[in-house]
């Protein structure tokens, strides 16, 4: 299982918050390693979130929800069967 965290976009404030602006993957979907899965925003700056591994994704944060950077926003489960 791989955690997907909100990117560390602020180096000055480790507790800075941002929002998941767009999910490009749906809950329970298969994702490929390197695939675009989300766009996040902090202080009007956008960043892309890329899947660190392949597997089934579970979304833990709703679109538009404000979270502290570093928060786990999704998990990817590697399933050996591929189903």
């Amino acid at each position: 299982m791989t955690d997907v965290t909100f990117p560390e976009m602020s180096t000055e404030d480790h507790h800075a918050t941002g929002v998941v602006a767009t999910w490009y993957a749906a809950d329970g979907e298969q994702v490929a390693e390197g695939q675009l899965i989300a766009e996040v925003q902090m202080d009007k700056v956008d960043a892309e979130v890329i899947a660190p591994s392949a597997g089934t994704i579970t979304l833990l944060v709703a679109e538009g929800e404000e979270v502290v950077q570093g928060t786990v926003i999704a998990r990817i489960t590697q399933d050996r069967s591929g189903v």
């Binding site: 602006a21 767009t22 999910w23 749906a26 695939q35 675009l36 679109e63």
Partner: protein, 345 residues
Amino acid sequence: MSTTAPTTGSTPVRRLNTSKAMAEAIAQEMRADPEVIYLGEDVGRYGGIFGSTTGLLDEFGPTRIIDTPISETAFIGLGIGAAVEGMRPIVELMFADFLGVCLDQIYNHMAKIHFESGGNVTVPMVLTTAVGGGYSDGAQHSQCLWGTFGHLPGMKVVVPSTPADAKGLMTAAIRDDGPVVYMFHKGVMGLAWMAKNQRSIGVVPEGEHVVPIGTAAVAHQGADVTVVTLGLSVHHALDVAEKLAGEGIGVEVIDLRSVVPLDRETIIASVARTGRLVVVDEDYLSYGLSGEVIASVVEADPGLLTVAPRRVAMPDIPIPYSHVLEYAALPRPEKIEAAIREVLR
């Protein structure tokens, strides 16, 4: 959640928003053809104010992704010259509203050189431009104006509404040997800072993807009424079609995708099945696309329509800045639904 239903199989699906799909098509064509360049205001370091060129400067550098001074006449003229000499420039007019300051280059030169040279000189150029309202940008930054471009002969005009079509039409536009005006509605780009809608995110083919210019798409099938539209209004029409399907009303939504050439065959074939026509156009009501669509049907066969057609379009007024007034003027879903119910009475 902004995405469509999960896939059940084990194959990952790759989604993009419309701006990323557009940039992907440009990048793929630039890799394949060194004559393709992109120029305009804030298209380089900024990445395009609506994300149309995000990431391209990093890959292709400032000799192919060119930030220009604020002189649309000068840099569109530069693009025309480059095209005449055999390059395939993509030139961005930041807002279609700005065509007033550079119209001579567009309609007297870009659009007419092929004709005036007796067909000996081609102008393989793409003019990209942002259109549309809905976010309080006022009367000089919210117009669609595809009717104006479509009225002037010599240019093809395309208006994608989905990420996949944005990629496919961009590829087709770059490869076209004549001038193509590529009008992207700001409301379909899927930008986080704009009012988003779920239809701005979609599955986009990763490899080469071409949507032929001049072909409309049946975005939703239905037997009772034909809604002909384009751009952001396609998204609204689909929302209405899905709602009315729950009441047993079949709404066929035609996404024109191209204004020039206009796919009259697809429009006429649909109206022949439904007998009822609603045209939804975010451009101005009078002397424009909505009238052209209706004329195309009536000229083909005045008996196709069983009831009078209806138009839902921008009234003939400068677009208000006030959010409330702007929404009152725009072809919002409530107006589309009311027009559909009217032709079904």
